[in-house]
């Protein structure tokens, strides 16, 4: 460790800026059979006007640590040691020793420390107006009468850039979009002018363009108010865009701490390096590097023409309604044999509906899907139930959620073998052997096939899902957000696995994702969707480096760049439609 004399002098010099100091904080959680040390000897300093990013993958203990700073700990947990010192004019207050229900702690929570949660929908009450919730927060921490508090609330909403704040103050949570809700949450956290702002994954539930706006806003508010900020995130891109200092957390310990530049350019700990590698790796187009030849120009295997899905245009006996929603609007594309086609878009862009229509688990309102298999071209949209079953053997789906998509009551052997058993292809010993073979193909130990899904991690479960999709020797795999639920290091592994399988088997992929880096890594061509329409279709390189359409440009430029010396988000192009 570096402790030269002048270094110490400089740190003491800076100490008057420190507003919160965490010393050797340890958190223990009592589980059924063991005690989990969720945080071990964590040391952090939050400085006025500075942003500290606490970064780590799921299960690293970053969220529990952040909550412990406000003494919010689940009932089975306890602070096992250490101090949380809140600097005050009168001296330091140790939050760790404060009474859970004491007045002092309540005045610190929301008073001196503001908290922004990940999920703005569940942290705002649906039965009160946005205004009344913020007014309550304002009045809890200051002596104001109702009309003053209302004025203050409108002012706060203006600060978080909610349009027409004097009208929006009387709206309900459900009348706000995801981004607006998060803005309202921020306004609430700022209600009592806190010195410290803790933001726990504030943009994880949001689309990239909204994420860029919210991060932008938080950063500006923090700088203008001189708050200290602790930002918890799993996304190295976000870290590079907003952090001054970075603490990397891994299994309860801070394995590395330093300025953002040091962490990104001279990472010292093996875990930090690994985390950065898997993030940076996704910034390239691996597919272009590994494929033999460009698949465009190969024969077409699946083609969609003028696919449209309209929801809500029913003609009931009380008269039809007027608010039909076009989830997918006139989308046409071709998939070539051996090609990986990416479909990107924000939530609500219709990309999932498009994928489901190709499989006809959602019936298209109009349009046509044609599949060119070994035999004559098949018109998928006109298939009978029986024909559809044969089609589903050639075109398979990999789900987003590796937990919900595997029947927890069946062993892995039964799950992977089920499609083979149903097809009546194999049974008994032959089926068992084939399952073992498939598991080996996806990089799992075949001896594990007697076990149930709950014995596996998220990444392993996704591998099981892939094995099930491969069981029937399909031609096309539709992967719907197949890596969205996984940590970044596992995400790269799964993508590499899919690429290596593709090399061995004759496969084409339709890869649906909201994550542009994943699509860029994996795909030959990318289709960009926006509000049900296919905005742009081009090669992955072209979409990511030289987008033509205005929407694509704004989308690409909103993606955080994992490089603190080259921040992209702050110079992004904005799109208004």
């Amino acid at each position: 460790m570096l402790t030269s004399p002048e270094m110490t002098a400089r740190t003491t010099d800076l100490d008057k800026d420190v507003v919160l100091e965490v010393q050797d904080l340890s958190l223990d959680f009592r589980l059924r059979t063991e005690v989990l040390h969720a945080a071990r000897n964590v040391n952090l300093k939050l400085r006025r006007g500075q942003t500290l990013c606490l970064v780590g993958e799921s299960g690293s203990g970053k969220s529990v640590t952040a909550r412990a700073l406000m003494h919010i700990i689940d009932r089975n947990g306890a602070i096992a040691g250490g101090r949380i010192l809140l600097k005050d004019q009168k001296g330091d207050i140790d939050i760790a020793t404060l009474d859970e229900r004491g007045k002092e702690l309540l005045s610190i929570r929301g008073g001196r420390i503001g908290l922004i949660f990940q999920e703005p929908m569940s942290s705002l009450s649906p039965v009160h107006t946005i205004g009344s919730q913020i007014i309550e927060a304002v009045r809890l921490h200051s002596r104001m009468n109702k009309s003053e508090a209302r004025e203050r609330t409108i002012d706060l909403l203006r600060q978080v850039e909610i349009p027409n704040p004097d009208k929006m103050v009387d709206r309900y949570t459900f009348e706000f979009s995801g981004g607006m809700r998060q803005r309202a949450m921020i306004a609430m956290a700022l209600a009592s002018d806190p010195d410290i702002l803790i933001a726990d994954e504030p943009t994880t539930a949001l689309d990239v363009t909204t994420q860029a706006e919210i991060l932008d806003l938080i950063k500006r508010l923090q700088e203008s108010r001189g708050m200290a900020m602790l930002l918890i995130t799993h996304d190295m891109g976000v870290v590079a865009e907003v952090a001054d200092e970075v603490a990397v957390m891994h299994f309860g310990r801070i394995v590395e701490f330093g300025s953002v530049d040091e962490i990104f350019y001279t990472p010292k700990h093996a875990y930090t390096q690994r985390l950065l590698d898997s993030t940076v790796k996704l910034e390239q187009n691996r597919r272009a590097a590994t494929r033999v030849e460009t698949p465009v120009g190969q024969e077409i295997i699946l083609s969609a023409r003028n696919l449209t899905k309209v929801y809500g245009a029913t003609k009931g006996w009380l008269g039809g309604n007027s608010f039909a929603l076009k989830a997918v609007d006139d989308v046409s594309f071709d998939l070539h044999a051996g090609e990986n086609l990416g479909v990107v878009g924000e939530s609500g862009s219709g990309k999932t509906t498009l994928g489901r229509m190709l499989l006809r688990t959602v019936e298209p309102t109009s349009g046509k899907v044609t599949f060119f298999g070994q035999e004559a071209p098949v018109d998928v949209t006109g298939l009978s139930k029986r024909g559809l079953r044969a089609f589903h053997r050639q075109v398979r789906l990999v789900f987003q959620d590796p937990f919900a998509s595997l029947n927890p009551r069946m062993t892995v052997r039964d799950i992977v073998g089920d499609p083979l058993l149903v097809a009546g292809e194999l049974s008994g010993k032959a089926l068992d052997d084939r399952v073992a073979e498939l598991l080996e193909l996806v990089g799992l130990d075949p001896a594990m096939r007697e076990r149930y899904p709950h014995a596996f991690s998220g990444g392993q479960r996704q591998r099981i899902g892939i094995a099930r999709a491969l069981a029937l020797d399909p031609r096309i795999i539709i992967a719907d957000e197949a890596t969205a639920a996984l940590d970044v290091s596992i995400r790269a592994q799964i993508l590499d696995l899919l690429l290596s399988i593709q090399k061995r088997l004759d496969l084409s992929f339709i890869f649906i994702s909201h994550d542009i880096s994943v699509v860029r890594y994996f795909c030959d061509r990318v289709a960009v969707m926006h509000r049900g329409k296919l905005v742009e279709l081009g090669t992955a390189e072209q979409i990511c480096t030289a987008p033509r359409e205005a929407y694509t440009k704004s989308l690409i430029s909103a993606v955080p760049n994992p490089d603190p010396r080259n921040k992209r988000m702050m110079h992004r192009t904005r799109f208004r439609a």
């Binding site: 402790t3 005690v35 071990r40 701490f257 010292k268 927890p408 499609p419 149903v422 007697e450």
Partner: protein, 391 residues
């Protein structure tokens, strides 16, 4: 400005934990199936486990009622009407003053108050009735199959009497009647629930799986049935039972009546679960795997439902028992000579009995309360354990 620090160690491979019991290695649940996991979760709810044993005990009592009861339920002795409970003694003192082990009860002497003609019983320490285990007593036909006369506990001389819980208005042994009542009351719940279960699961599944018109029709039927006031309806139906029918027939009709109104809740529960499961990814996956609708239901949806159904059934059982008790108490359910807890409570309808022979109210009521509570605790425990996969 910031000091760059790091831990100079290899990254950890897993979260840091300390086992609570160092001697016992943490068990690997990787190849545990659904029932093992449910049992694991259930067994941590001590109250539910204890309740389970209570239920098992009652079932055991009901099953071996003839052996466990000290005498036949319908033997009446006019000289012992409304006799109070006797307590079981362990040691007797012989004439020579030595004390020896002998299970016994002390007899009564009856006194009649000359003014009011009211009978009162006084314990007479001189009258010792020896009691033994597995004694020969009143003959019975075990399960209606073979003759026997062995009783677990009873006076060694079949001519003597033993009333551990007292007697009723006609001088019948309350303990024997309670034990025989256990058989009827417990089984009426089980039989009634089985009928409800079949109706509920079939109609609920149809409703939940097909949705649409089928669902609408079934749901409206359920609403109509559950909107009817139950007691008057039971009264009407029970009153329609011909008096000439044998008690056994009446018993079956009563179960049927009770269960015809009990299935609606179950059907709703099953339907709700079906709706939830139909949207699950793994069910979609099974459909895309080529499974037919029947296979999806029987291979994927129903196995996920069974534990929930079990929990709902356990919670439905006590309502059946209470319904039977209520009907019999009102005198429109089971009738003598059949004995059930409700029939026993019927005896305790008047103030005189409650004032002078309160045991006739206390014991049957206690049996009902304990059983219903035990079923509820057990059902709660099962419901909490029914889905071992949620977070």
């Amino acid at each position: 400005m910031t000091v760059h620090t790091f831990i100079d160690e290899e990254p950890d491979t897993g979260p840091s934990t300390t086992p609570l019991k160092p001697s016992k290695a943490t068990s690997d649940m990787g190849d545990a199936n659904q029932w093992t996991l449910i049992w694991y979760k259930f067994s941590r709810n001590k109250l539910a486990v204890v309740s389970g044993f209570v239920i098992l005990f009652f079932c055991f009592v009901g099953l071996f009622a003839e052996v466990l009861a000290p005498s036949a339920p319908d033997v009446s002795r006019p000289q012992f009407t409304n006799a109070p409970p006797q307590s079981l003694g362990l040691f007797v003192t012989d004439a020579d003053g030595s004390s020896r082990f002998q299970l016994h009860v002390t007899g009564y002497t009856m006194e009649v108050d000359p003014a009011s003609l009211r009978r009162s019983y006084v314990v007479d320490p001189e009258q010792i009735v020896p009691v033994g285990l597995f004694v020969q007593g009143a003959p019975y036909k075990m399960w209606g199959l073979f003759d026997a006369n062995i009783h677990l506990l009873g006076p060694t001389d079949p001519g003597e009497t033993m009333y551990l819980l007292g007697t009723d208005r006609l001088g019948r042994d309350l303990l024997s009647r309670l034990i025989h009542g256990t058989r009827i009351s417990m089984s009426i719940g089980l039989v009634g629930v089985s009928i409800s279960l079949v109706l509920g699961v079939v109609l609920g599944s149809l409703s939940g799986f097909y949705g649409g018109v089928v669902d609408t029709v079934i749901q409206r039927v359920i609403e109509v049935i559950s909107s009817m006031p139950t007691i008057p309806l039971w009264l009407g139906l029970a009153a329609a039972i011909p008096l000439t029918w044998s008690p056994l027939m009446v018993y079956f009709i009563i179960t049927l009546i009770v269960s015809l109104f009990g299935w609606t809740g179950l059907a709703r529960e099953v339907r709700g679960r079906f709706f939830a499961l139909r949207g699950e990814d793994f069910v979609t996956a099974a459909k895309l795997d080529g499974s037919s609708e029947r296979r999806v239901i029987f291979r994927h949806i129903l196995p996920s439902l069974t534990s929930h159904i079990l929990a709902v059934v356990t919670l439905a059982l006590p309502t059946m028992i209470v319904a039977e008790t209520a009907l019999s108490f009102l005198g429109i359910g089971l009738k003598a000579p059949i004995v059930s807890w409700g029939v026993l409570l019927q005896e305790a309808q008047n103030v005189r009995t409650i004032a002078n022979a309160s045991w006739q109210l206390v014991w049957p009521a206690a049996a009902v309360v304990v059983t219903v509570l035990a079923y509820n605790f057990l059902g709660d425990g099962l419901r909490d354990a029914a889905d071992p996969y949620e977070s």
